[in-house]
């Protein structure tokens, strides 16, 4: 009987064996993080210093100055009075309902995460576009990053670096970086072959082709990727607050545990407002910078 049980039940490791494997791996990782945790943490010190400085800058600046700067940026990017007005009103409301400090903290972490994601993601995307082998290695990794529940990779990060801003930034980047990588790759691969051939025929080397043709022509797609990355980073804010990232996520977490509906709603709306502002401003910028590539409207 015992020999034929695999017919009715899937063969399984015994409980003891499974526990040993878990314990073994956990032990190895714990040893690793005890050994190297501090060294790795030290690597992130400059980033942490920047993050803290930026947060302090936003918090210490007078509120009207911050709103003015953000409105100015929105104007430069979009040249639309409506959008600028929307930005000013939203930020004023955020402050009026007492969420100013948390919003500034969230903004600083989102901006840092987005910049890091672009700085890492665009080069990775370029490498993927240039080599099919890189593409076939990186794609499954991106699949894992996008589908693995965020809590799962929070565990090793926390084990390694403890609770705080840096683990939060890393978690947000892991969660938010796939779109910018994927769309950079896609954008470059979709560049018109004729234009690229023309550049080659005039003797452009690979750097000239990349900077002069591929990146500019892929820019609309890359911008869409960056836009997605910002959105995903914002949505990660609440989860990141579980490992000690201050900002709009923490009141949300507090409202879940204490059933404060209004507090949760207000902070949620603040996140939505930030998301919409980032989205519209970056889209408007992308659209404006690509105007000349539209069809023969005025021909």
């Amino acid at each position: 009987m015992a020999e034929t049980s695999w017919l009715s039940e899937i063969p399984q490791l015994s409980r003891g064996e499974l526990r040993d494997i878990r314990k073994g791996l956990d032990g190895i990782y714990r040893d690793f993080s005890r050994e190297y945790g501090e060294t790795i943490e030290a690597l992130f010190d400059p980033l942490l210093a920047f993050l803290v400085w930026f947060e302090k800058l936003l918090l210490a600046s007078p509120w009207f100055l911050v709103i003015a700067v953000i409105a100015g940026l929105a104007w430069i990017a979009s040249r639309s009075w409506k959008l600028v007005l929307g930005v000013v009103v939203s930020f004023f409301m955020i402050g009026y309902f007492g969420m100013w400090d948390d919003t500034m903290r969230t903004m600083s972490i989102i901006l840092v995460c987005t910049m890091m994601a672009i700085a890492l993601g665009v080069p990775i995307g370029i490498a993927m576009a240039r080599s099919d082998r890189v593409q076939s290695t990186v794609t499954p990794m991106l699949d894992i990053m996008q589908t693995m529940p965020a809590f799962v990779y929070l565990i090793p990060v926390v084990m390694l670096l403890g609770i705080g801003k840096i683990p939060g930034v890393i978690a947000v980047i892991i969660y938010a970086i796939p779109p910018v990588i994927r769309l950079t790759n896609l954008g470059i691969r979709l560049v018109d072959k004729d234009v690229l051939e023309a550049a080659t025929a005039y003797g452009a080397n690979s750097v000239q082709r990349l900077m002069g043709v591929q990146l500019p022509l892929a820019m609309p797609t890359i911008m869409a990727g960056i836009n997605q990355t910002i959105m995903m980073a914002l949505s990660m804010v609440v989860i990141a607050s579980m490992i000690g990232v201050k900002g709009l996520g923490q009141p949300v977490l507090k409202s879940i545990t204490n059933q404060y509906f209004t507090l949760g709603l207000l902070n949620g709306l603040a996140i939505v407002a930030l998301a919409i502002i980032f989205d519209r401003v970056s889209q408007a910028y992308a659209k404006r910078s690509q105007q000349h590539m539209e069809g023969l409207d005025n021909g």
């Binding site: 004729d194 234009v195 051939e197 023309a198 550049a199 080659t200 025929a201 005039y202 003797g203 452009a204 080397n205 000239q208 002069g212 043709v213 500019p216 022509l217 820019m219 690509q290 000349h292 590539m293 539209e294 069809g295 023969l296 005025n298 021909g299």
Partner: protein
């Protein structure tokens, strides 16, 4: 095209010998099959490899417009990409001014592409994110020429192609014809000796196309570049080509001057092509005229009458020291003789009959030829009487295109394929 004919010995600029291109994963392995003479279809069925070019040999001379023509799938676009190695051949030699292009390293190849050749594309290949002037200056900016210098030069070329004032527009704002002018200006801006034109005018509508052809011919007379021009349109090939090569299924079918191809097609395939050509537009007077005859050179009417009686016709062309004077009939001579049998032969006996130039395209002389009862005298630039063109010659040449075409194009193609 006829004007561009230079009598001096042409110097070979590019040489292609034994060029083969087999597309697929492992072309080298299957080359023996190609050499065994297996057909394109057999090779595709047996190996999954496509034979792109088969044993191409050609020499392109300095300063000529060399047209490579064929239908789609004939390998012409593949062939032109071998000149600047956008495609590498499976086998064969490409030589330019004695340098083996195949032996160039990556850096040398870049330099070669920057300075020796420039290319015009069927679908323009303009950079959509750069202004027109930056597009034209693109070749120079790749070479590292300073912005101010390259822009100044680009502006000059834009003016040459008739696009002054469009400098700051973007390509998407221009029409197809204008975009291709930008493409042409970009190609000329690098001062490369060789111009590769890949179906450059095929995407344009007929009127713009012929305008662009005229412009190219005009520019070529000034610049004397070596132009390799790809087309699927024989009319275009005949119009601009100094020499033409015809490709079919990756093989060279015939090479030669336009008249040669028109008057002596090598295979049924070429003949089927040639049949639809408007000969009146493609041929010049020189290629079809008869040898000169019926010269009246006498000093007196009496002698002139004697000369005239030796002719088959009852008229002749009076030629004195100043060259051709006009046509004179036997009747007129007899009248003059009756009046005064000692009179000198002068141009007063002649009727005015305008001569035609040997370089004139047949189409332009059709009305004159048909209106005249005499053969028209052909007189070259130096005033020399070089030939005659009669109504019947014209009818024969132009009528030929339907007279000997008992088979339809499809039938010939089926037989050839």
């Amino acid at each position: 095209m006829a004007e561009a004919k230079i009598e001096t010995q042409p110097t070979a600029l590019i040489k292609i010998e034994g060029l083969y291109k087999l597309f697929g994963k492992n072309p080298k392995k299957y080359m023996p099959l190609v050499h065994e003479g297996k057909s394109k279809d057999e090779i595709l069925a047996a190996t999954g490899h496509t034979l792109g070019l088969k044993d191409i040999n050609m020499t392109i001379n300095k300063g000529e417009i060399f047209v490579i023509m064929g239908l789609s799938g004939s390998g012409k676009s593949t062939l032109i990409r071998h000149f600047n190695r956008l495609i590498d051949p499976t086998e064969g030699v490409i030589e330019m001014e004695g340098t083996d292009v195949m032996k160039l390293g990556p850096k040398e190849l870049e330099q070669f592409r920057r300075h020796k050749m420039s290319m015009v594309f069927q679908r323009f290949g303009l950079l959509p994110h750069k202004t027109v002037v930056d597009n034209v200056a693109y070749g120079l900016s790749i070479q590292g020429v300073s912005k101010s210098e390259s822009t100044a030069k680009a502006k000059e070329w834009l003016e040459t192609v008739g696009l002054a004032g469009y400098e700051e527009q973007y390509p998407a704002q221009l029409s197809g014809g204008q975009q291709q002018r930008v493409g042409l200006a970009r190609a000329l801006c690098t001062d490369a000796e060789i111009l590769l034109m890949d179906e450059a005018f095929s995407a344009l509508d007929p009127l713009i196309r012929s305008e662009m052809q005229d412009q190219l011919i005009e520019l070529q007379q000034k610049l004397q570049k070596t132009i390799i021009f790809i087309t699927h349109d024989l009319d275009e090939a005949l119009r601009i080509g100094d020499r033409i090569a015809i490709l079919k299924d990756g093989e060279m079918v015939q090479q030669g001057e336009p008249e040669e191809i028109l008057l002596n097609p090598a295979t049924d395939y070429v003949e089927a092509f040639v049949r639809d050509v408007n000969r009146a537009r493609a041929l010049t007077v020189e290629t079809v005229m008869k040898d000169p005859a019926y010269r009246i050179t006498a000093d007196t009417i009496e002698e002139a009458l004697k000369q005239m009686r030796g002719f088959k016709e009852d008229y002749g062309y009076y030629i004195n020291d100043d060259g051709y004077q006009g046509v004179v009939t036997e009747e007129a001579l007899e009248d003059a003789y009756a009046e005064d049998n000692n009179a000198e032969m002068t141009s007063e006996c002649c009727e005015d009959l305008d001569s035609i130039s040997p370089d004139a395209v047949l189409e332009t002389v059709i009305p004159e030829t048909l209106n005249s009862e005499y053969s028209l005298p052909v007189v070259d630039e130096d005033g020399e009487f070089t030939g005659m063109l009669s109504r019947s010659t014209l009818a024969e040449v132009l009528g030929n295109e339907t007279a000997d075409s008992s088979e339809s194009v499809e039938e010939t193609e089926r037989k050839a394929g």
